[in-house]
Point group: C2
Amino acid sequence: MSKRLAAVALGALAMAVSAPVMASDNPAEDIIKARQASYRVMAWNFGRIKANLEGEYNAKQVEAAANAIAAIAGSGMGALYAPGTETGSGYYPTSVKPEMFTDKEGAAKVAIAFGKASAALASAATGGDQAAVKTAFGDVGSACKACHDQFRQKRD
Amino acid sequence: MSKRLAAVALGALAMAVSAPVMASDNPAEDIIKARQASYRVMAWNFGRIKANLEGEYNAKQVEAAANAIAAIAGSGMGALYAPGTETGSGYYPTSVKPEMFTDKEGAAKVAIAFGKASAALASAATGGDQAAVKTAFGDVGSACKACHDQFRQKRD
């Protein structure tokens, strides 16, 4: 993530006085909240796809959920790791490891893998082939886990 | 939102033991968190577009942010208003008014308007015409406000 992008993102929150969610006077906290919220929304939609794969399959619902995951994954999430957000709290203390900010090559690798897997899931979901969705869903889960194993602190 | 969809969504969280975010033992809280997170992520991306319109315009960033908003808006947000989530807390107490659950026609109207405005913004952002993006951005803001005025409790 570029410093410019981080500055834009910080500025966006600082200036967004008329935005639907008011910026607090703590831009780092706002960014960590947006970061935690982004993963929460992706997890929610991931869970919906899982429920469809394990129960009655609603292709429209799976497509919509997969599109949400892919769009968030492709939204420029690097801005959510702006300098100053290595530690601290959003809704709760961040679980990110410091290595996410220092190992730029490793971070880019997991981010690109996640982006590709998410895009493939959205593509499979649009195609409507449930077996292809199941495979792509597993690949997204693996991409999540790869990043968690490397860059997320273990929770109690 | 159908009861079936709500059941699927609740089930998704209850079953998603291997999902990236573990479900708690309080499905209603999980849904309210997903609801609050969804609006947070949209607001974050809305703020990024605002910063681009007021500063240096990065068409790719605006497109990515607009796509995230449109995909979340189109992801079947009705499931985030499942029965049992009229009151209670997610990350914080919900600000939703009871009317959102009882005035189904009114709720559908603001939801459809928001979905259309978000899709139009994403379309304008893909086109790359900054003036068109600015207009569409204003329309999304108006759609946000219309729902807030009608269905969101005033905050202190």
